[in-house]
Amino acid sequence: MSAIDMSIVQRAKRGDKTAFAALVDYYYARCLRFAVHMLGNSQDAEEAVQDTFVRVHGALHRYDEFDRFESWLFRILANRCRTMMGRESRRSRVLVYGDLPHDRGTPPDVDAIAWREEIQTALAALPAAQREAFLLRHIEGLEYEEMGRITGAGVSALKMRVKRACEFLRLRLAEVERA
């Protein structure tokens, strides 16, 4: 997904409600995907994303246009997810199939469902910081410098988190495939 037209961000910043709605429309699915993977259930994820956009609206006047809007948005979203993780961590993070709305419209495939569940289980088993770094890097496609601005962590630490996350996922899911 390409970055949003900055004129929309500028209009939203000036208080244009239609432009803000366009921002929400544009980024909602991506934010929801990140939050679902971070928090492990769609209800908490929805809450985190809704909170994020309300907070984005309230903080738009502080948004510095030298910063990529996407990075800024994900910083707020990541904060919301982290804040909610206290609650979330007290429940199982394993995503139950059917919890994640799916828009591919494909017929149910038992193997695909099982594979998806295994991925979600492995992802949920990652330490939160590694999961976050992995998602920002490989799913959201962000550069390490941007990830640093989002997470507050250094580039080398983030690279290590991503590397460990990849190793863990590979190991866990290779075992599943062999079984």
């Binding site: 679902v36 609206h57 309230g58 994640l100 594979w115 991925i119 989002i150 507050g152 590979r170």
Partner: protein, 242 residues
């Protein structure tokens, strides 16, 4: 972007990249909440929303209790109603710990988080009903030690976890070598709240709860840090000298 991706990782990433379906009213709900916030009917954005929080880069870094939830130093905070009664909640921090120490030294009082079992308020916030809640509360007891021994003696700390559905809860921390079977919490049958009191030496400690033998649970009221070697999150307790 690919880093060290291979076929397996590509398949994992491909699965995780699938975008979820967005509820049809998602944007409308955001706009309604924005309007409500503008009218003062809902919490507005906070000043530090776009500052990075949590996951400290320095493994030993203390987390700061958010200003919005921070009580005046040393002041017990009414946690609101619980299922079985009201409780006092203490946020453990250095000033608070020092406050406890001074209070115990000067007055020799027993300081303890109170947990009456009845008289609850029926208007319980949904979050408070559903959240697992935990806290560590220093409780000090005066004994006949030399001033220095007294000052450095272990302090009784009450660890509390509100885990209504848990079948068993254990406390693990650097003070018990992370042994999950050495410090079980006891459930209060009236409130469903789990607790235990442990003597902890003054200083900085890290701990967590293990629920039902497998769910690693942090104390939401305590600062968090990360284990330097494994990256596991832990709660932080500061016990001040008495």
């Amino acid at each position: 972007m690919r880093d060290d991706r291979d076929e397996l990782l590509d398949r994992i990433v491909g699965e995780l990249k699938v975008l979820p379906a967005v509820p049809a009213d998602a944007t409308a709900r955001v706009l309604a909440r924005v309007d409500a916030a503008r009218r003062g009917q809902a919490p507005a954005a906070e000043a530090d929303d776009d500052d990075v929080i949590f996951f400290p880069t320095a493994t030993d870094e203390m987390q700061t209790v958010p200003a919005a939830s921070r009580p005046p130093s040393g002041t017990p905070v009414d946690a609101g109603a619980g299922r079985g009664g009201w409780r006092r909640r203490f946020v453990v921090s250095i000033p608070v710990a020092i406050g406890y120490a001074l209070a115990a030294t000067v007055a020799g009082f027993l300081i303890r988080g109170a947990m009456p079992r009845s008289g609850g308020d029926a208007t319980v916030a949904k979050e408070q009903q559903t959240q697992t809640d935990a806290r560590a509360v220093p409780v000090t007891a005066v004994s006949g030690l030399t001033p220095r021994e007294y000052q450095e003696a272990p302090v009784a700390v009450q660890f509390v976890l509100d885990a209504q559905r848990a079948k068993r809860v254990a406390l693990v921390g650097d003070f018990n070598a992370w042994a999950a079977d050495s410090m079980p919490l006891v459930r209060d049958s009236a409130t469903g709240v789990w607790s235990t009191v442990v003597n902890v030496t003054p200083g900085r400690h890290v701990y967590a709860f293990v629920v039902d033998g497998e769910v690693w649970t942090l104390d939401p009221r305590a600062p968090k840090t990360k284990d330097a070697d494994y990256g596991t999150e832990q709660s932080v307790l500061i016990v001040g000298l008495r």
